[in-house]
C-alpha cells in the first residue's frame, strides 16, 4: 500500500537580520494510516514541520524538499488553490495555541458551524446539530452551553477541545495535531486520544501527533520521531522508547517528575553541541 504522506529531506529556513535560521534541517519520514509521534524540546522544529506539510509556513520562509507528497499529490508544486482545497478538507491541523487560533469575538459554536459549512452544504439546523454532537464527542460537559460561549469564557482545556472539534467536523484523512492535549487533564486527555485512535483505526486516518509529553506519546503512538535542533536524532517504535539510545531522548525522559520519585531539584537536560551536528 502506498504511504499517505511522504516527506523527504524537508528544510524550512527563515532569513533574519542576523542570518538564516534553519528551523527544519533535512527531515524525512513516511506516514501510513497510523499514529506517528513527533517529540522534541521547544524550538526543535516540530511545529514548523507540521506547518510545512499543511502549507502554513510564513511567506518569508523558504521551504525545500526532495519530495513531499500527500496521496500522490506533490505538495511543493501544487497550485495554491489546490492546497487550499486540501487544507481543512483532507488535511487538517490542530494548532498549538488554541486561544490564539480561535476568533475571540465569535462564539465557539458559530466557529465550528462556519468550518463545517465551508466544506459541506448543510442546513443551519443540521450544522448546529453536528457541531453539538462534535462538542459532546470531545467530552465537553454541557455542550449546549459551551456552544454559545466566547473563547475567553471557556477554560483552557475546553478551548483546546473546541479546536479539536472544529478540525474533526470536516473528517480529514490526515490530521496533524500540534500539542492537542497539553491543557487537558489526564482523564479527558485519554478520552480525546480515544477519539483520535478510533479515527485512525476505523476510518484509516493518518495522524501526526506532535507533543513534548514522551510518556503520552510512547503509550499512544505506533512510531516516534525524536527531533533536536531541526533534525531527526532518533526514530523508533513507541514501545521501545524507554530503551532509547540517544542521550537526548534519555535526558528528555529523565527530567519528567514521577509520582513517588522524590527528586529535588529535577535533573535538567545538559545539551551537547555535537547533538546538533
Amino acid at each position: 500500500m502506498n504511504p499517505l504522506l511522504t516527506v523527504e529531506d524537508l528544510h524550512v529556513r527563515f532569513p533574519t537580520r542576523t542570518g538564516v535560521v534553519e528551523a527544519v534541517r533535512g527531515v524525512s519520514f513516511t506516514l501510513g494510516r497510523e499514529r506517528l509521534g513527533i517529540v522534541g524540546e521547544s524550538g526543535s522544529g516540530k511545529s514548523q514541520t507540521g506547518r510545512a506539510i499543511m502549507g502554513l509556513t510564513p511567506t518569508h520562509a523558504e521551504i525545500s524538499a526532495k519530495r513531499m507528497e500527500f496521496d500522490g499529490i506533490d505538495l511543493l508544486r501544487a497550485p495554491p488553490a489546490q492546497r487550499r482545497a486540501l487544507r481543512g478538507n483532507r488535511i487538517a491541523m490542530i494548532l498549538q495555541d488554541p486561544k490564539y487560533s480561535l476568533n475571540p469575538v465569535m462564539t465557539i459554536g458559530r466557529q465550528i458551524v462556519e468550518t463545517l459549512r465551508t466544506h459541506e452544504k448543510v442546513s443551519q439546523a443540521e450544522a448546529r446539530k453536528r457541531a453539538l454532537a462534535m462538542l459532546e464527542a470531545v467530552q465537553i460537559r454541557d455542550a449546549a452551553r459551551v456552544y454559545d460561549l466566547y473563547p475567553h469564557e471557556v477554560s483552557g482545556g475546553m478551548g483546546q477541545r473546541a479546536m479539536i472539534a472544529m478540525m474533526l467536523v470536516a473528517g480529514p484523512e490526515l490530521l496533524i495535531a500540534d500539542e492537542p492535549t497539553s491543557a487537558l487533564d489526564v482523564t479527558v486527555q485519554l478520552e480525546v486520544l480515544g477519539i483520535l485512535d478510533r479515527l485512525v483505526r476505523e476510518r484509516g486516518m493518518g495522524l501526526i501527533f506532535i507533543s513534548h509529553d514522551l510518556r503520552l506519546v510512547s503509550s499512544f503512538c505506533d512510531r516516534v520521531i525524536v527531533m533536536y535542533a531541526g533534525k531527526i536524532v532518533e526514530e523508533l517504535a513507541a514501545s521501545e522508547l524507554s530503551r532509547a539510545e540517544h542521550p537526548y531522548t534519555q535526558g528528555l525522559l529523565d527530567c519528567m517528575p514521577r509520582i513517588g520519585a522524590d527528586r529535588h531539584p529535577l535533573p535538567v537536560l545538559e545539551r551537547k553541541p555535537e547533538w546538533a551536528l
Binding site: 522534541g40 524540546e41 521547544s42 524550538g43 495555541d97 486561544k99 490564539y100 465537553i140 460537559r141 452551553r145 469564557e153 471557556v154 477554560s155 483552557g156 482545556g157 475546553m158 477541545r161 500539542e179 497539553s182 491543557a183 487537558l184 487533564d185 489526564v186 482523564t187 479527558v188 486527555q189 485519554l190 486520544l193 480515544g194 485512535d197 513534548h212 509529553d213 514522551l214 510518556r215 503520552l216 510512547s218 503509550s219 499512544f220 535526558g251 528528555l252 525522559l253 527530567c255 519528567m256 517528575p257 514521577r258 509520582i259 513517588g260 527528586r263 529535588h264 531539584p265 529535577l266 535533573p267 535538567v268 537536560l269
Partner: protein, 249 residues
Amino acid sequence: MTTALAIDRLRVTFDDFTALKDVSLAVESGESYGLVGESGSGKSTLLRAVAGLAPVSGGTINVNGKRLGRHRDKAFYREVQMVFQDPYGSLHPRQTVDRLLLEPLAIHGFDNSERRIMRALDEVGLGSGFRFRYSHQLSGGQRQRVAIARALILEPSILLLDEPTSALDASVQAEVLNLLEQVRADRKLTFVMVSHDLAVIAHMCDRLMVMQNGEEVEQLTAAELTARRVERDYTRNLLVASEGFRSGA
C-alpha cells in the same frame, strides 16, 4: 503557623452557570498547595476569584487574616500575584520585557527600578540580554520565566500559579519547576498551584485538592497521593489515567 489563604464556601457564578460550588480550603503560610481535576472544573476560576478577576457570588476569602471585599486595593496586589496558564497569551505583544517589568514598579511607586529589574531577570535565570526583547522573540519557557519575574517583582507572599508548565516541554518544565522551588525556598512564598499533571503536583506540593465539576472531590497530602491512599474513585481514575494511554480502553 498562620493561615495565608483561607477560602470558605466560595461560589462563583457566570450569568446562570455556577463554576465553583461552595469550595473551601485553607493554605498555611509557606505551604505549597495543589489543585488538580477535570478540565473545566473551576481550578483557574478559583485562582482568578482570589485575584479579583472572577465574579464572586458567595463565600469569603481571607488573605493573611484580612477578609477581602469586592474590590481589591493596591496593597492586595503586593501580597498576591498570579502566573497564567498560557505563556503565549499573558505577555503584552507590544511591550518589551523591560516595559513589562517596569509597569508594576511604576504603579506601586517603587524606587530603584533599574536594579530591581536586573535582579528579577537574574533571579529567573534570564540575563540582561533579554531585557529589551519583545515577547514574540522569546521561547515558551523564556516567556514563562518573564511572567514569573513579573509576578515576583512586587515581592508578594502568595503566588497563584495556573498550570505554569503545561505549555512547556519536559526539559523546560523541569527547569521552571526547579526555578519555582528555588524562589519558594529563598523567599518563603506560599504557592497555590494548578496543574492537570498529578506527577507535577506530587513533586511540587505538600497538600492538594482534587476537583470535579466545580466541587471538591477530596483533599489529600502529597504523601497519601504517592502511596495511593485515596478515598474516591475519581482520584483513582486520575491516577490510573496518568500512567498513559491504553488502546481500546
